[in-house]
C-alpha cells in the first residue's frame, strides 16, 4: 500500500501544486488520479518515485517512508510509463525493455527470455518486434512496449502518467482493455494519471479527483457517479460526461426498466417508453429535469431519474 501523508509541494516560482494531500493507494488496485490540467495530478504521481521531492509531508510504501530509501533502488522497484512514451530511439525494442534488467546485471539468457515473455504479454510477436527500433512502430505499439518495459522487473507498483492520451481512439480503447486484463491477471498496484473521465471510469478500481492541489473526492467509479460530493465533481463528471455518455447509447427509456423507481422528486416530465437517448439527454442536461415519468400505452410504468440513468450507463460500460 502506498500512503501519502500530508503531502505539500511548492515550486520555486511560488505555485502551490499540492496542498496537504492525504490519500492512499491500495495494494493490487488500479487507482486513477484525475483532474483538470494544473490540478497537481502528475506532480503527485512523480512524488511516488521521487522524480519530485516534497516540500512537506511523507510518502510510505508498505509502511516505511521512501524519502530515506536509496533513490536508485526505489526507482528500479517501481515501473513507470510516461505520456510521450519515452522509449529510447537509439535502442531496439528488446534493448528498451531490458534497460532495468541490464542495470541489474541479469544473465543474457534470463534477459532474452524475459523480453520475449513481456512482448507476448502485451500482444506483440517477439520474432517480429524484438530487433526493431521504436520509430518503426506505431504509437499504440510503442506504448505497449512502454508498458512491457515497466513490467519487466516485476515491480509491485506501476506508475502511469497519461500513458494513452496521445494515442488515436481505437488504440487507446485497445490498450485500456489490455491494461485492464493485465491488471486482473497480475494484481499490481497501479497508479494511473489521466484527464479523461471515461478512461478513469472504465479502468479504475478507485478514483481520486484532484482540484488545485487538493483532493476533491475519492471513491469507486459508481460511488463518484452517484454521489458527486461537490459542485466541482458534479461539473467535472456530470453534465459534459453525462451528455457524451448518453448520446453514445442508442437505447430507449424502456430499456432501463430495471432501473425505474416508483416515485420522484424535483421537476418531472412525462415521456414515451420509446423516447431515445438524445431526447432524454436534452431533458436532463439542457432543460434541467431531475427525472422523467415513463409512459407506455397511456400508463405510467415508472420514473427514470438522472442519477439512476447515469448509474445504469456506468454499470453497463464497466461490464
Amino acid at each position: 500500500m502506498i500512503e501519502i501523508k500530508q503531502l505539500s509541494k511548492s515550486f520555486n516560482d511560488g505555485t502551490e501544486a499540492l496542498k496537504h494531500i492525504d490519500v492512499h493507494f491500495n495494494e493490487g488496485e488500479l487507482t486513477c488520479i484525475i483532474g483538470p490540467s494544473g490540478c497537481g495530478k502528475t506532480t503527485l504521481l512523480k512524488h511516488i518515485n521521487r522524480l519530485i521531492a516534497p516540500t512537506n509531508g511523507d510518502i510510505e510504501i508498505s509502511g516505511s517512508s521512501i524519502l530515506n530509501q536509496d533513490i536508485v533502488e526505489l526507482r528500479r522497484s517501481i515501473g513507470y510509463v510516461i505520456q510521450q512514451i519515452g522509449l529510447f530511439p537509439h535502442m531496439t525494442i528488446a534493448e528498451n525493455i531490458s534497460v532495468v534488467p541490464r542495470l541489474l546485471n541479469w544473465s543474457k539468457q534470463k534477459i532474452n527470455d524475459r523480453v520475449d515473455e513481456m512482448l507476448e504479454m502485451v500482444n506483440l510477436e517477439p520474432e517480429v518486434f524484438r530487433n526493431r527500433y521504436p520509430l518503426e512502430l506505431s504509437g499504440g505499439q510503442q506504448q505497449r512496449v512502454g508498458v512491457a518495459r515497466a513490467l519487466v522487473g516485476d515491480p509491485d507498483i506501476i506508475l502511469m502518467d497519461e500513458p494513452f492520451s496521445a494515442l488515436d481512439p481505437i488504440s487507446r480503447e485497445q490498450l485500456q482493455d489490455q491494461l485492464k486484463s493485465l491488471h486482473k491477471q497480475l494484481k499490481k498496484t497501479i497508479v494511473f494519471v489521466t484527464h479523461d473521465m471515461d478512461e478513469a471510469l472504465k479502468i479504475a478500481d478507485r478514483i481520486v479527483i484532484l482540484r488545485q492541489g487538493e483532493v476533491e473526492q475519492i471513491g469507486r467509479p459508481d460511488e463518484i457517479l452517484q454521489n458527486p460530493e461537490t459542485d466541482f465533481v458534479k461539473s467535472f463528471i456530470g453534465e459534459e460526461r453525462m451528455t457524451r455518455f448518453m448520446r453514445q447509447s442508442h437505447k430507449t427509456a424502456k430499456y432501463f426498466e430495471d432501473w425505474f423507481v416508483m416515485e420522484s422528486h424535483g421537476q418531472v416530465k412525462e415521456v414515451n417508453a420509446d423516447t431515445g437517448m438524445d431526447e432524454l439527454t436534452t431533458l436532463f442536461v439542457d432543460q434541467g429535469y431531475d427525472s422523467v415519468e415513463v409512459i407506455e400505452n397511456d400508463r405510467s410504468i415508472g420514473y427514470l431519474t438522472k442519477n439512476t440513468l447515469l448509474k445504469a450507463l456506468a454499470t453497463e460500460r464497466s461490464e
Binding site: 536508485v72 513507470y80 505520456q83 519515452g86 529510447f88 530511439p89 527500433y133
Partner: protein, 224 residues
C-alpha cells in the same frame, strides 16, 4: 588550337614539373600538416567533450564558457600565432596550442547543444528507471547527442586543416611552408602545390569523419 587552351596546357605542364621537382618538400609538409591537424583535433576533443557535457549539466556555466571559447575564436588566427610566440616560443607546441584553441568552440558548442537538446522525456524515463546520472549520460544522453557532436568535430576539423597553414610562421612546418615559399618566390605553381593538398587533406578528413559519423549514429535515430 586556340591560344588559351595552349596556355593552359603549358601552365599545367609547368605545374606538374614543379610538383615533381618539389615532391619531397610537399610530401614532408603534407605529413606534418596531417599530424598537426590530427593531434590538435584530438586534444581539442579531449578538452571539449567533457567541457561540453559539463556545461550541459551546469547550465549557468554554459554562457560564460561558450563566450570564452567564442572570444578565442574571434582572435585573428595570424595574431594568435604571433601572440603565443613570446609566451611559448616557436615550434610545434605553439602551433598545436593555437590550433587546439581554434578547434574548441565548434566541439564545445555542439556537444552542449546536443546534450541539451535530448528530449526531456528521455531523461525523465531514464531517471525513473533508476539510472544513475553517469549511466544516463553514457547510455542515453551521449548516444542521442552523438550526431550533433560529430558534426561539431567535422566543422572543427575543416577549420583546423585550413588554419594549420599558418603553422609555418612559428616554425612548425606543414603545407604552409610550401605556400610561403611560393609566395616569396612569386611562384604560382608552388603556391598551388601547397594549397591544393590542404584542400585534399580537408576533404579527406571530412570524408573519414563522415564515415565514422554514420558508423556511430545509432541505427534507431537514422530511421526517420
Amino acid at each position: 588550337m586556340p591560344s588559351f587552351v595552349n596556355g593552359f596546357y603549358k601552365w599545367g605542364q609547368e605545374f606538374i614539373a614543379t610538383v615533381i621537382d618539389r615532391r619531397e618538400l610537399i610530401q614532408t609538409a603534407f605529413i606534418e600538416h596531417l599530424w598537426l591537424s590530427f593531434i590538435a583535433i584530438f586534444i581539442a576533443c579531449l578538452i571539449s567533450l567533457p567541457l561540453g557535457i559539463w556545461i550541459a549539466r551546469a547550465k549557468r556555466m554554459a554562457e560564460p564558457m561558450i563566450g570564452v571559447t567564442a572570444v578565442m575564436q574571434t582572435i585573428p588566427s595570424l595574431a594568435l600565432f604571433g601572440f603565443l610566440v613570446p609566451l611559448i616560443g616557436i615550434g610545434t607546441n605553439t602551433a598545436l596550442i593555437a590550433l587546439t584553441i581554434y578547434a574548441l568552440l565548434p566541439i564545445v558548442r555542439n556537444t552542449y547543444t546536443g546534450i541539451s537538446r535530448v528530449n526531456p522525456a528521455m531523461i525523465e524515463a531514464a531517471s525513473a528507471m533508476g539510472m544513475t546520472s553517469k549511466q544516463r549520460l553514457l547510455r542515453v544522453e551521449f548516444p542521442l547527442a552523438l550526431p550533433f557532436i560529430m558534426a561539431g568535430i567535422r566543422t572543427a576539423t575543416v577549420l583546423t586543416v585550413g588554419v594549420a597553414t599558418l603553422a609555418t610562421f612559428v616554425g612548425a612546418g606543414g603545407l604552409g611552408d610550401v605556400i610561403y615559399r611560393g609566395l616569396q618566390a612569386y611562384n604560382q605553381h608552388l603556391i598551388l602545390a601547397g594549397a591544393i593538398p590542404v584542400a585534399i587533406l580537408a576533404i579527406m578528413f571530412d570524408f573519414v569523419l563522415k564515415y565514422f559519423e554514420k558508423k556511430t549514429t545509432p541505427k534507431g535515430i537514422q530511421i526517420k
